[in-house]
């Protein structure tokens, strides 16, 4: 008997998308000097809105507004007073959570169940968490003096969550910010700007400048900022590191990854399969810490792969606003092209591809969940970040080999260990050169837990007490 789930679309009526958006500078929405650009719904290619592009003059205005707010207001407030604003923002985010979730799914393509159950609750949790630190900085161990104005550039994969990771600790520590959201996903950041107005946040404490790479470059190179915080690709991260070299600016970078998800033969297999799926297909694999390399012990590889494929066949790919969708749309045509290119390289290099049988919509940007078997460390798909729903499967024989292969990458953002043996978890986790190691789970986030990379995955930590260090002296 076939149990077909009827469409269960979340209503769009709660969001009010304006035809055009300006920049948020000094507490007001203003026109941008650059050429405005369109943001589209990646699930349908429908144009959602025209968004202003900030040119270098706009960036300059935003930095000056942030400096003025820092000098005149924000740095003079007590921690407890700053906390009041952050708590207020957190509560408004909760009150408007459905609106934020729907808008995030429309602009980004991620399934509503993820924006509703993961992204937005974590956004609120981050503001609550750092609100709690604002009057306790003396006990964190990193000093109590803010840096000044922070220039922050965030990616398109978790638009609102990355905003929260950047803005909440900066404001809690007494800094003011100029934030540039990604050009394909600016809408929730602009809605957040409205929330700042609603919370009566003093003008200039948060400024949002939209645009693409040139805007980001103007921001990080601006002489008036004291701190650069960037999440995005390793290439851009390197360019930023070069640009700020020799200046007084402090930098934190959270860059790419090619995480190993290691499954030992004594793992809880059914839950490991869930963890593999969550590791690589969560958010269409647009996750810097995605478990994109599955390292499975050779003696259970066939069983794990059979179970994985059976599970992948149940993934529901389609309309991001349908509450039963598990995998949504690829965020942009450019990203889809990149995923296709690397997948073709994988096949050309002799790895065997298998995709879950699913009907992909004809409009929009889509890629079926795919697993490559027969992959070795010599394959490009085992080395380069695909940033899509594509899993590379490698095998290993012994714990030592697993660690060696897991660490054999220029990246080091995250890793996963699956075993029922507690002592093995501790031993392996100790040897993995990755900022986050998950044991018998994957892609779990919490504001209390620091997050960041080794090697080319970046430096600095966000989240937890450690996340305060980047914004204090």
């Amino acid at each position: 008997m076939v149990f077909e789930y009827a469409p269960a679309p979340e209503s769009r009526s709660i969001v009010d998308i304006k035809p055009s958006y300006g920049l948020f500078i000094g507490g007001e929405f203003v026109d941008g000097g650059g050429t405005s650009f369109k943001t589209v719904n990646p699930a349908t290619e429908e144009v959602l809105a025209e968004v202003a592009e900030a040119d270098s003059d706009d960036v300059d205005r935003a930095v000056k507004a942030a400096r003025k707010a820092y000098d005149k207001v924000w740095s003079k407030l007590s921690g407890a007073e700053r906390a009041k604003y952050l708590y207020r923002i957190a509560r408004i985010i909760q009150e408007r959570s459905r609106e934020l979730a729907v808008l995030e799914s429309i602009d980004n393509g991620k399934p509503i169940k993820e924006s509703r159950d993961v992204d937005v609750p974590l956004v609120a949790a981050h503001f609550f968490y750092y609100a709690g630190w604002a009057d306790k900085l003396a006990y964190a161990g990193f000093g109590t003096t803010p840096l000044g104005v922070a220039g922050q550039v965030i990616p398109w994969n978790f638009p609102l969550l990355m905003l929260a990771w950047k803005i909440a600790p900066a404001l809690a520590c007494g800094n003011t910010v100029v934030l540039k959201p990604a050009e394909t996903t600016p809408l929730t950041a602009l809605l957040f700007a409205e929330i700042c107005q609603q919370a009566d946040l003093p003008p200039g404490v948060v400024n949002i400048v939209t645009g693409a790479g040139a805007t980001g470059q103007a921001l990080v190179e601006h002489e008036g900022i004291d701190k650069v915080a960037f999440t995005g690709s390793t290439d851009v991260g390197k360019a930023i590191a070069r640009a700020v070299a020799g200046t007084e600016k402090r930098v934190t970078l959270e860059l790419g990854g090619k995480a190993a998800n290691i499954v030992f033969d004594d793992a809880p297999i059914d839950q490991a399969v869930e963890g593999i799926v969550n590791g690589i297909f969560f958010n269409q694999g647009h996750v810097c810490c995605a478990g994109s390399r599955l390292l499975v012990q050779e003696n259970v590889a066939d069983e794990v792969l059979a179970r994985l494929k059976r599970r992948m066949a149940t993934l529901r790919v389609g309309d991001p606003l349908d509450k039963n969708t598990d995998v949504g749309a690829i965020n942009s045509a450019a990203q889809l092209a990149r995923i296709r290119e690397l997948s073709e390289i994988g096949a050309a290099e002799g790895a065997e591809a298998w995709s879950a049988p699913c009907d992909l919509p004809t409009q929009g940007y889509w890629f079926a969940p795919t697993v490559f078997t027969g992959v070795t460390q010599a394959h490009r798909i085992a080395r380069e970040e695909i940033f899509g729903p594509v899993l590379s499967v490698l095998t290993f024989r012994t714990p030592a080999e697993a660690v060696e292969k897991a660490n054999n990458t220029p990246y080091g953002l995250s890793a996963g260990v699956w075993t029922e043996k507690g002592s093995r978890i501790l031993k392996i986790a100790d040897k993995l050169r990755a900022g986050v190691v998950w044991a018998n789970t994957f892609n779990k986030f919490d504001p209390t837990s620091p997050f960041g990379g080794y090697k080319e995955s970046g430096y600095g930590r966000e989240g937890g007490r450690h996340g305060l260090e980047a914004y204090l002296r």
Binding site: V2, F3, E4, P7, D266, P268, D270
Partner: protein
Amino acid sequence: MTATSPTRAADLDGVVSDVTRSDATLRRFLHGLPGVDQVGAEARAAGLGTRSIKTTAKAFALDLAIRMVDLTTLEGQDTPGKVRALAAKAMRPDPADPTCPSTAAVCVYPDMVADVKQVLGDSGVHIAAVATAFPSGRAAMDIKLADTRDAVEAGADEIDMVIDRGAFLAGRYLQVFEEIAAVRAACGDAHLKVIFETGELQTYDNVRRASWLAMLAGAHFIKTSTGKVQPAATLPVTLVMLEAVRDFRETTGQMVGVKPAGGIRTAKDAIKYLVVVNEVAGSDWLDPDWFRFGASTLLNDLLMQRTKMTTGRYSGPDYFTLD
């Protein structure tokens, strides 16, 4: 009820005789099954619980759930009048709507079977009887077997036995295996459901081991609970059992049913279970032959939701029978 492919059945006999040679071999087999991570299993069940089942899918699920109900009364105060009323309800759950399907079975104590049978006749609604010193299972083997035979002779189509949880928790797996096998033999043509009382076994590892133990011993169905111990059925426990029957079929070719019982009171809950059946075991289990709900109050909520689907209005509890 049991779909057996002949080539695989021979393998099963081989597996059974190998692993049940001694307590030690059986223990090695059961403890060699992959572990269940509690956090992960509960997260998976909770995730499936967020599926949104609306309109046509909901109508389908409600009718299917009604057809899967083992309408149950297991009280000291049960009388012929009570169980006859329940049997009448099982046949015609919604007297106002002839399109409403019957439930799968009526589930009673063995001494009530004859009264139920008089009412059900050849309606197609099965009679299930609990046996083997239900609910504690604490009696001598010959008493448990006599209990089973009495119920079968009185006309029970299905026997819901309880395992000896004391023996299981003490590690005497072979004793539990032999009891199940002996009760299965005493069942004759009746189908055997094996109740674990998962609220007493407590860990998911135990639930997985008990599932394999019962399936190896010949259970037609594995069932969570008696309804007399809390917690009774839960979504993650049922998920672990559905994984076991799915894997058992893959290994042996033989299909075993699953019955969560106790604590499932709302249509919303029942639909969550059907989603888990659908996505974990697969659509082959979406049939009253392979999945049941042991419940009493659940039926009225299913009926109320069903009426709401057809009329667009909620009606009060007075519009549904109390039995």
